[in-house]
């Protein structure tokens, strides 16, 4: 490992710029604000790219107590997550330049937006559990202002709900961390786990309980049943670009936590075949189905997408829970694809709201005639999310299903793929009506008063870019697959 201070620079720069924005005089023009934000986003992205090019880099910042270092390390999982974060953050940030025109207090929005970006980079670069936990808490706290941005009663309540659910989860995690610290050799993430086999055997039931609590705890952020209820409340009330970032990225913080704890702290072997794994698989599948079902029944456009997130993140969790290399590859692929797809979906929903003010699915008949580009993009990424070849969602689901079939987890070997398929059908059921009604509103539709209301370039560019990625990554998944093949087998 190469010790270099560059690792923390992309964490600090957006944080500093974010704080600067928050304390900037409100009298400054909106243009200045946007220039600073854009500079913050791109400079950080450049720095992230530079750090990734350094290879196996790390840095110990300081010690919280004599044995708790704040330690950063860039490994393969960090690379994956930080790339996704950067890509989505820039797309959603540029989109917000236009979208936030119709919201108040842009300064606060962009200030916190940059702050959270820095925190997320820190989260991805965290090299040990305590550092990770620190950034995890900060992520919750600092993303809350994005949720309650418009300060309506509903939004503030949703913000508080988000906060309390998240902290509830975080404290369950902390409970586990206390025990890990006592029994483990180190808190630094090590592929394959950090425990001595003898210690694991001796304190098996205690440590299993700790692992379980941590799974549920991180599962809160990832919207896993039974603590998913905050997600459909909090995501839709935020401004659309924030919803996109929350649903695409912040929930992945929980996924990253689970990856770290399962594969880098306890080790997959320890959990394989235990009650923890069984419960985890059950909860994940339950959430997959439940999320889709609720999305199918939901009328609000953005809320429907939020339920969809609940379901899709549990695809990822299920892929991780079978503890089998192919399925884990599928899960991590789905991290990438879902981030891109869900971000696009929310940005499309935001464009519709921005241009027409319509928020319910049933009001959207004829929308395709008004905003053809947006709805075409919506349709492509919907197909990707359903998993129709050759789009990206197909690839990840293929890996997930094959992995589950090879995993030898008893009933789950076939139950998993069945539930995933069923949920894919429901996904089609809740996403495609917008397209169908949008382009084919029926005979009694009033074509005369129809106006073109396409969103402008600032909003369309990110949507188009994301859509192209969502489709193209499905056609050319080889480089990604090679990237995974290099490190996933070492985790098992």
């Amino acid at each position: 490992m190469k010790e270099t201070v560059w690792v923390i620079v992309p964490v600090l720069i957006p944080v500093i710029m974010g704080i600067f924005l928050l304390f900037m005089k409100p009298s400054k023009s909106r243009k200045t604000l946007l220039w600073i934000t854009a500079a913050g986003l791109f400079v950080t992205a450049g720095l992230v790219g530079y750090v990734l090019s350094l290879g196996d880099a790390g840095y110990t910042l300081f010690y919280l107590t004599d044995t708790l270092p704040v330690f950063f390390r860039v490994d393969s999982v960090s690379r994956l997550f930080v790339s996704v974060v950067t890509f989505i953050w820039i797309c959603s940030g540029l989109y917000a330049f236009e979208y936030m025109k119709h919201e108040e207090n842009n300064k606060r929005y962009f200030g916190f937006y940059l702050l959270v970006y820095g925190i997320l980079v820190g989260l991805d670069f965290s090299g040990n559990l305590v550092t990770f936990y620190m950034f995890y808490e900060l992520m919750t706290l600092l993303s809350m202002p994005l949720v309650l941005h418009n300060r309506s009663h509903e939004a503030v309540m949703a913000g508080l709900k988000y906060l309390f659910y998240s902290f509830f989860g975080a404290y369950m995690v902390l409970f586990g961390i206390y025990f890990i610290y006592h029994y483990a050799n180190t808190m630094s993430f090590t592929a394959g786990g950090v425990f001595d086999a003898a210690v694991l055997a001796e304190n098996r039931s205690l440590l299993l309980a700790a692992a379980f609590l941590m799974l549920i705890g991180f599962g809160v952020k990832a919207g896993m049943f039974p603590l998913h209820a905050w997600l459909p409340t909090a995501h839709p009330v935020a401004p659309a670009p924030a919803s996109a970032a929350l649903s695409g990225i912040i929930v992945k913080g929980g996924v990253l936590g689970i990856v770290r704890v399962v594969f880098y702290i306890f080790g997959a072997d320890f959990l394989k075949g235990t009650w923890v794994q069984t419960v985890w698989m059950t909860l994940a599948l339950l959430t997959v189905f439940m999320g889709s079902m609720l999305a199918f029944l939901e009328k609000g456009f953005k809320k429907r997408l939020a339920y969809s997130t609940v379901s899709q993140i549990s695809y990822i969790l299920f892929g991780l829970s079978v503890l089998q290399p192919v399925a884990v590859t599928g899960a991590l692929l789905h991290v990438v694809f879902h981030a891109i797809i869900k971000c696009t979906l929310f940005l499309c929903a935001g464009a519709v709201i921005y241009q027409t003010g319509k928020t319910k699915v049933e009001e959207l008949s004829g929308i395709g005639k008004q905003m053809p580009v947006t709805i075409w993009c919506y349709t492509f990424v919907s197909l990707a999310l359903i998993g129709i070849p050759p789009t990206s969602g197909f690839v990840s689901k293929w890996y997930l299903a094959t992995g589950a079939l090879q995993s030898g987890t008893g009933i789950f070997t076939w139950l998993g793929p069945v539930v995933l398929l069923l949920s894919a059908l429901l996904t089609a059921g809740y996403l495609l009506p917008v397209t169908v009604k949008g382009f084919l509103p029926g005979n009694d539709f009033d074509y005369v008063s129809l106006q073109k209301r396409e969103a402008n370039g600032w909003m369309l560019m990110p949507i188009l870019l994301l859509t192209i990625c969502a489709v193209a990554l499905g056609m050319f998944p080889n480089s990604l697959a090679e990237f995974f093949a290099a490190f996933v087998p070492q985790l098992m």
Partner: protein
């Protein structure tokens, strides 16, 4: 340093304080200067004393046999004494500004300063009897402070405070007598003074006495079910609530319990007995109970008082683990909580002083008008929740590590209680922060047009507290190492 110095630092504030109403000050400024100079001088003396401590003890009065009033500096005295000495001058500074809108400032400063000396007496006591003496004195000298506003509410609160404290002290007295009869000496000795030969088969009686004494001293530390005086005593002026009812008085209770557990009965004797179970359950219950009440309470100061109840039981929980690591955790939280809570209380006081608002639902939008106060309040709120990077995380970490290490099932439950309490803390503290910074849409800032940050007398202590919280949170190794040595009995 000369052992006589121990007596000096106790008597100086007591006598100097008593002179406040007598001396003919021309102006308020002169009186303030006198008080601040007195307190600051005393604090300097205390630090000089504690860090060049005299080895031998000082017998002030010898009644008969081993009944003495005697003073000595050991590790525990250093911790508690330094804490008090650091906070007192800052709190005094704050009071100058705050007390402008209260009546009878002279009386206030008299008793406020005298309390300083009495609290130091508890810190420096060499044996149980001396500590008991100062403990009773503390009740009496702080009573006028609770009574200060002389409203009906204040009188009721003061009466309750008196009855609770004296009642508690009576139970503590039983502990004192039994220590004298069954122990080798009354002097505090790490590891306990109990004499197994004298005890014989009366173990259970002694354990019962320990439980009595624990709850007796626990009254001041506001352990459930003896907590109700504390929120009620919140009618006192804020400097009193902040310094005395979040630090000096209540931590004197916790301090006495540490003395009782580690230095009188001894952990060897107590660990693994039913008595440990009883007191531990009481602390775990209080941790959750205090927080739950804080969530329901809408008066800012009372909410913080309930939070104090819960946090004091964090300290007591560390004590009841009855291991050196547990004591380290308890001491860490004793020190760190002092800064976090006094910071929060002073912010609340500044809000009340500047806006006259006392209830949580009146705080909408104040964050923009009083940014400094609310930023500092946020820091202390996050620290109380235990966000990493701030002091509260470290002290909870130490407590939890002690609990994990003890492998006692009850202490595992205790960790759960700590975390539930952290969640509730998030609820009742962040509720205020969110209100202040993010008022509901359509909020009219004209209604709070005259609110503003207070002057430097109030801001200086607040800033110092916030800095301490952050510094300890980021770099706690020296403090923790020192406290570990204290718990191991090196000093």
């Amino acid at each position: 340093m000369n052992p006589m110095m121990m007596l000096v630092v106790i008597l100086l504030p007591i006598l100097g304080g008593a002179l406040v109403p007598v001396l003919p000050f021309q102006k308020r400024v002169y009186r303030n200067l006198y008080v601040e100079a007195l307190v600051l001088l005393n604090s300097i003396l205390v630090f000089a004393l504690l860090w060049n401590r005299p080895i031998e003890a000082l017998d002030v009065v010898r009644f008969t046999g081993n009944w003495t009033i005697s003073l000595r500096v050991d590790g525990m005295s250093m911790v508690f004494g330094s804490l008090i000495a650091f906070l007192w001058p800052l709190a005094t500074l704050y009071s100058f500004e705050y007390m402008k809108h209260e009546q009878r400032e002279k009386t206030f400063f008299m008793f406020y300063t005298m309390t300083y000396g009495v609290t130091l007496g508890i810190a420096l006591a060499e044996d149980m009897l001396t500590m008991y003496f100062f403990y009773e004195l503390l009740t009496l000298v702080t009573l006028p402070l609770v009574l200060h506003t002389l409203t009906r509410e204040a009188v009721l609160a003061a009466r309750k405070y008196l009855y609770y404290s004296l009642g508690g002290a009576a139970f503590a007295f039983i502990g004192l007598i039994f220590t004298m009869v069954y122990g080798n000496t009354l002097n505090f000795t790490l590891g306990g003074v109990m004499n197994a030969a004298k005890i014989g088969d009366r173990t259970n009686i002694l354990l019962l006495v320990y439980v009595f004494a624990f709850f007796g001293f626990g009254v001041k530390a506001a352990i459930c079910p003896f907590n109700s005086w504390l929120p009620q005593a919140g009618v006192a002026p804020t400097p009193v609530t902040a310094l005395l009812h979040a630090v000096a008085v209540v931590k004197a209770g916790a301090f006495s319990i540490i003395r009782l557990t580690f230095y009188c009965f001894g952990t060897e004797f107590l660990r693994g007995t039913w008595a440990q179970g009883v007191v531990m359950i009481a602390t775990i219950f209080t941790i959750v109970y205090g927080c739950s009440r804080a969530v329901k309470e809408t008066h800012i100061k009372r909410r913080l008082a309930y939070s104090t109840i819960s946090n004091l039981s964090y300290i007591l929980f560390g004590v009841t683990i009855m291991t050196p690591l547990g004591l380290t955790g308890a001491l860490t939280h004793m020190v760190f909580h002092a800064f976090m809570k006094i910071g929060a209380f002073f912010c609340a006081g500044a809000i009340m002083y500047k806006t006259g608002r006392h209830y949580v639902h009146e705080l909408d939008g104040l964050g923009r008008k009083m940014p400094k106060v609310f930023v500092i309040f946020t820091v202390s709120a996050l620290a109380l929740m235990g966000v990493p990077g701030l002091a509260g995380f470290i002290s909870k970490w130490n407590l939890a590590q002690a609990a994990v290490e003890s492998k006692h099932v009850l202490s595992y439950i205790g960790i759960g209680a700590l975390l539930i309490s952290a969640l509730l803390t998030a609820t009742y503290m962040l509720n205020i922060v969110v209100r202040a910074f993010f008022p509901k849409a359509g909020f009219d800032y004209e209604t709070i047009a005259d609110a503003e940050d207070p002057n430097w007398l109030m801001l200086l202590p607040l800033t110092v507290f916030a800095l301490v919280i952050i510094v300890f949170g980021l770099h706690s190794a020296p403090v923790t190492a020192f406290l570990q040595e204290v718990a191991a009995g090196i000093y």
